[in-house]
Amino acid sequence: MDLTKEQKIRLYTNLVRVRKLDETMVKALLTGKISTFFHSGEGQEAVGVGACSFLREDDYLFPSHRGHAISKTLIKGLPARIILAEHYGRITGCCDGVSGFHTCDMKLGIPGMSGTLGGHFPLAVGMGLAAQLRGKKQVVMVIEGEGTYARGTFHESMIMAATWKLPNLFIVENNQIMGNTPVKIIHPKDDFADLGFGYGVPAKVVDGQDVFAVHKEVQTAIDRARADEGPSLIECKTYRIQPHAVGLPDTLLGRPRTQEEIEVWRKRDPIKLAQKRLLKEGVLTQVDIEKIDGGAANEMEEADRLAWADPMPTDPKEILKKALYAE
């Protein structure tokens, strides 16, 4: 199914929004507004945007920590102000300021963010079971960095989701670097998509810099899941432009990362690629592009201003007490 003009513009706009929010958060960390850390997702926007732009509100989404999940959560509908407010410890944050950086909004189908990497997989299968029992054709999407696909949780989850034909989508955001280690030295094959074969799960490799390609492949998998045909695995090849976390040394195996490699990938920046295509197709003009850029910049500036001005919790002990056990 071909995308409409509006859908293409939406994908492009979302790429720009995520990039502007990422920049806002890098700045917030460097100026001391964020007290924990920030793992910039610059250059990887097309994966989350392509996968999440057309999810239903009642679909479930487990996002990875990269970019603190903004390329998924912002796109699923969580306002930038609420994401920022959580990082700033404000009462208006998505977790009342308790989490610091975990994201959660059950109304948007975002059940939370795991501290242990790979912790989402079995939870997603449980949600897949619930979705199947409920029978409303919801899908459950997990997007995780390639490093987590070594976890036993993933392999157990594939067996269960495939056996029970659950509406699960496993999306590998392969940025090729795990912390300060190139993933090729700790994984036996080039493609993580190969992992689908043993479980009988359809798997594809897709260019993770191309938002339209990601969307197309993910949409096919979503359609399969909604038709009760079971889970899919999609590997999106991308690249981490920034260090593991902002402010940390940018090394690979103890040596500084070569700028040449980064430059190669910067040339395939997902925003630039999408821009080129949409200009060529006549979907957007240069004026439209500037307008979208300005609009996203304004959105994030305002979100940052409002979030920073939001109040801190007046009774943090009471908030923490209520958070521990439900009534």
Partner: protein, 354 residues
């Protein structure tokens, strides 16, 4: 009231709650096939989707429970061996226990973890004999019940399933296997968490005991009665929340406290209860508190098991010690341990049940 077996109380609680609420389902190894816990009748009544058979994949199984609970269901995750929860520590101790808290209380996780605990099975060794209530009580965010009678089990399990929090319900494998029975009303009832039960009244010494240790202590208490010692046996029934007030008021009367718990002694439930008591009830005591528990070692297998697990004589000696009695009164081994010549029989398999 009618007398039913321990395992029947589990089945009745599961069947009643699954009938009452269609979001309740069971997931675990052999749940479609366990000859004593899930009779074929349950599978026929509720179908295979609500008795979800699983591969050997504990993180997957426990994680499924947490995930389905996040999505609004009330799963019951079952394992005959609580030991097998350890591969799923991330799912139990992080995801179930901490997920609500770290997300500011924005999600609820109404999952029940139901598991068999304990040794005395003929020597199952260190990974088939543990109780693990110490780890669970240590972890904020979980609730914990250890019922020891069919009445307590049915009432507490039903409460756990309806609770909006991750709840762990531990039953002793011996109590299922030995076919212990007790009085249970025909009509519906539940038991709230956080209410201790005095299983035997006495005026000389309070013994706080959990799980199978309640049975062991009751049999010891009957034998010590013949020597003129009047032992009060108190079963907290739930460890989180813990009814410390009932323990305090009991010791206010007896002035002496022994705590018996089958888990490893170091950093145990007994240590926690004892210290909580010291902070609030030191002045009631006429003697130091005494603890009885498993040795600070793994649990050996086969015929060596009895050297690590608490025995009735250990309980009797602790009681006489806090009473300042120099003499040791000999007591009999636990009668429940007699039936069954091998582990399978002690677990309850090998004879027709229900």
């Amino acid at each position: 009231m009618r007398e039913i077996k321990f395992v029947q109380a589990i089945i009745e609680a599961l069947e009643e709650e699954m009938t009452r609420d269609e979001t309740v389902f069971i997931i675990g190894l052999n749940v479609q096939a366990d000859p004593i816990l899930t009779p074929v009748r349950l599978v026929e009544k509720f179908g295979t989707k609500r008795l979800r058979e699983v591969p050997i994949a504990e993180p997957g199984i426990l994680g499924c429970g947490v995930g389905a609970a996040l999505a609004g269901y009330r799963p019951i995750v079952h394992s005959r061996f609580v030991d097998f929860f350890m591969p799923a520590a991330d799912e139990l101790f992080h995801k179930a226990a901490k997920w609500r808290y770290i997300h500011g209380g924005k999600v609820t996780i109404p999952v029940t973890f139901l598991a068999g605990i304990g040794g005395y099975l003929g020597g199952g060794g260190p990974e088939h004999s543990q109780c693990l209530e110490g780890y669970i009580m240590h972890t904020p965010g979980l609730k914990l019940a250890i019922p020891t009678t069919p009445y307590d089990l049915k009432g507490l399990l039903k409460t756990a399933i309806r609770d909006n929090n991750p709840t762990v319900v531990l039953y002793h494998r011996i109590l299922v296997g030995a076919g212990t029975s007790g009085l249970v009303p025909e009509e519906e009832y539940t038991i709230p968490f956080g209410q201790a039960d005095i299983k035997r009244e006495g005026k000389d010494v309070t013994v706080v005991a959990t799980g199978l240790m309640v049975f062991m202590t009751l049999q010891v208490a009957d034998q010590l009665q013949e020597k003129g010692l009047d032992v009060e046996v108190l079963d907290p029934r739930t460890l989180e929340p813990l009814d410390i007030e009932t323990i305090l008021s009991s010791v206010k009367k007896t002035h002496r406290l022994v705590i018996v718990d089958e888990d490893t002694l170091r950093c145990s439930v007994g240590a926690e209860i004892g210290m909580q008591f010291m902070e609030k009830g030191f002045d009631y005591l006429d003697a130091p508190i005494k603890r009885v528990g498993a040795a600070n070692s793994p649990i050996p297998g086969g015929f060596m098991e009895c050297y690590a697990l608490p025995q009735p004589q250990d309980i009797a000696d602790a009681i006489t010690e806090v009473l300042g009695i120099k003499e040791s009164f000999q007591v009999k081994p636990l009668e429940l341990l007699k039936p069954g010549r091998h582990m399978g029989e002690r677990l309850g398999y090998g004879k027709k049940e229900n």
